[in-house]
């Protein structure tokens, strides 16, 4: 990898965070290299947002070390934050200000010169298709427009590192695709990104490297395509039938090199390589669907299908 040849922009070593007795992040090691988009995946409560908050000094680590741009956190927090842009998961736009004022006031926190800030705000509103909403108050914006403004705001200081915590959460497909396009554009310009998301499609599309987090620990990491191929295989069959038929099917597939998983009256078959029994089955049974393996299969395999609610 050419990307990993350069020194990392973000380096996390042995990071642990406990809230009272609850361990939220456990011995986490993580690097983000210049120019890459690192996707941080994990179920609710896996420690993604806590990790981001530790990078920003909003949560104090229990132990471990963080360095960003080669400077240690939280000691050099102020200097480091000048060069970071954040689009948080929870909308925290300033409702007392208009769209344009939100950008200008935020730029002022970074010490961006007012005329430069105005120019940048104009460009960003154009880039995120918000130009005609410039003087609107925040309450009048749609969910998608608020998200786009949040992203514009994250870029107002021309950051070298962009942190995106669930950038398209709760948006309709149109709004989501618009944002993806813009983020791809930024990535191709070389902006380094840390992205968390629950939309596997989003991560597959934007991230060069994925890190799957569960219960505060890394359970897998690598190139998303390679990881799926290595750990899941190329194809997935989903069979719905009576439990008896499924039992029989599982029996016949013993000789094949496949992983199977039963969820209620549904059988998932993850094929590492082709196998005649599998092909016969696919033709003979009616309720079978065959599709390429994806990141979601890997995610569910690694983190399980049980609901994660705090």
């Amino acid at each position: 990898m050419t990307l990993t040849a350069k020194p990392p922009l973000v380096e996390i070593r042995n990071l642990t965070k406990k809230f009272k007795d609850r361990v939220v992040v456990k011995d986490l090691d993580l690097c983000i290299y210049p120019g890459e988009c690192l996707g941080l995946l994990g179920p609710n409560g896996a420690g993604k947002t806590t990790t981001i908050y530790m990078l920003l000094g909003l949560v104090r680590p229990t132990s471990g070390e963080i360095s960003i741009f080669g400077e240690s956190i939280p000691k050099r927090l102020k200097h480091v934050k000048l060069r970071i842009g954040v689009a948080p998961q929870a909308d925290n736009l300033d409702p007392d200000l208009t769209v344009f004022e939100n950008l200008l006031v935020y730029a002022a926190y970074f010490g961006v010169n007012r005329s430069i800030a105005k120019k940048r705000a104009d460009e960003l509103l154009g880039f995120f298709a918000l130009k005609n909403r410039s003087d609107e108050i925040i309450q009048h914006l749609s969910g998608g427009q608020r998200r786009r403004l949040l992203l514009s705001r994250a870029l107002i200081n021309a950051p070298e590192l962009l942190i995106l915590d669930e950038p398209t959460i709760g948006l309709d497909p149109q709004a989501r695709h618009l944002i993806w396009e813009r983020l791809e554009n930024l990535r191709s310009q070389g902006t380094t990104m840390l992205l968390t998301s629950h939309y596997m499609e989003e991560v597959s599309r934007l991230a060069n490297r994925v890190l799957i987090l569960d219960e505060g620990k890394i359970v897998a990491q690598g190139d998303p395509g390679e990881m799926v191929a290595d750990m899941i295989g190329s194809e997935v069959f989903e069979v719905t039938d009576s439990p008896k038929k499924l039992d029989a099917l599982e029996e016949t597939l013993r000789s094949c090199k496949v992983d199977v998983e039963r969820v209620a009256d549904r059988l998932f078959i993850y094929a590492q390589e082709s196998c005649t029994e599998l092909e016969t089955m696919a033709i003979s049974l009616r309720h079978v669907s065959k599709r390429p393996a994806n990141l979601e299969d890997l995610f569910l395999k690694l983190t399980g299908r049980t609901l994660r609610e705090n």
């Binding site: 000094g57 934050k81 948080p88 925290n92 926190y109 970074f110 200081n157």
Partner: protein
């Protein structure tokens, strides 16, 4: 390292400019109404106190109480809204502004609102027959410090609050008693010595006494005590407020 507080101040000022009228009426309505009701209403039936009419007597105290109300309410209702529902603090802490600068900016902003209310009350005093002495120039910095003191107390409450109802304790059990028992409406020197001692323990008493001295231009011998108490309390409370806000925001 504490310089970015003025960015927070500027943010609040630019929001405030949008609702100047509502904000000023909200802050000044109460002391003005008291001045009218007590001064004109009750005052007519009261002989002179300390050589001035009742209206002239309560005017300077109401200047001090206007600062207290504006300052503390801003860091309670205003700051709590920015801390919780609006998430403005979280957004600010994602920038180079530190939590200390944020808290300091909020306190100084609220003190600014406080002093503004105080100045408007001062400017209105001639309407009630009280022409302030030139000494009020010295009163202005003291009112600002008083604003810091009550803004800090309000921010301490915000740091501890779990909902808006929490502020009722502070308002009913602290602010209102201060308003009534800090010598705004009656002369403390006429009370028995125990009550005089108790009233000196109330922070507003010192601001009221100073305000009266400087408005009339009659500087009493105990002015250094009043000044000292206000300075020490404002610095101490601001420090506590910053510590508590940091504890609330940085987990």
């Amino acid at each position: 390292m504490w310089l970015l507080f003025y960015k927070v101040w500027l943010r609040n000022a630019s929001v405030w400019r949008k609702h100047v009228r509502a904000s000023l009426i909200g802050n000044l309505g109460q002391p003005f109404l008291f001045l009218l009701a007590m001064g004109f209403g009750l005052g007519r039936q009261i002989p002179q106190i300390e050589g001035v009419t009742y209206l002239q007597f309560i005017g300077p105290g109401l200047v001090a109480s206007a600062v207290m109300y504006s300052g503390s309410f801003e860091t309670m209702y205003g700051s709590y809204t920015r801390l919780t529902t609006q998430r403005t603090y979280e957004a600010i802490l994602m920038t180079p502004v530190s939590v200390e600068e944020l808290a300091l900016g909020e306190i100084i902003w609220a003190a600014t609102k406080g002093i503004l209310s105080g100045l408007i009350m001062l400017a209105a005093l001639p309407l009630f027959g009280l022409i302030p002495s030139p000494w009020i120039l010295a009163l202005i910095p003291m009112l600002f410090l008083e604003g810091i003191l009550f803004a800090s107390l309000g921010l301490i409450m915000t740091a501890l609050a779990s909902d808006y109802e929490f502020f009722n304790y502070f308002t009913s059990l602290f602010i209102t008693p201060l308003f009534l028992f800090s010598g705004i409406f009656f002369s403390i020197s006429a009370m028995n010595p125990v009550i005089q001692k108790i009233s000196l323990a109330l922070p507003l008493t010192h601001a009221v006494n100073l305000s009266r001295m400087l408005c009339y231009g009659r500087i009493g011998p105990d002015w250094p005590i009043h000044v000292l108490v206000i300075i020490i309390l404002s610095v101490f409370c601001a420090w506590i407020a910053i510590v508590l806000i940091r504890r609330r925001l940085i987990l």
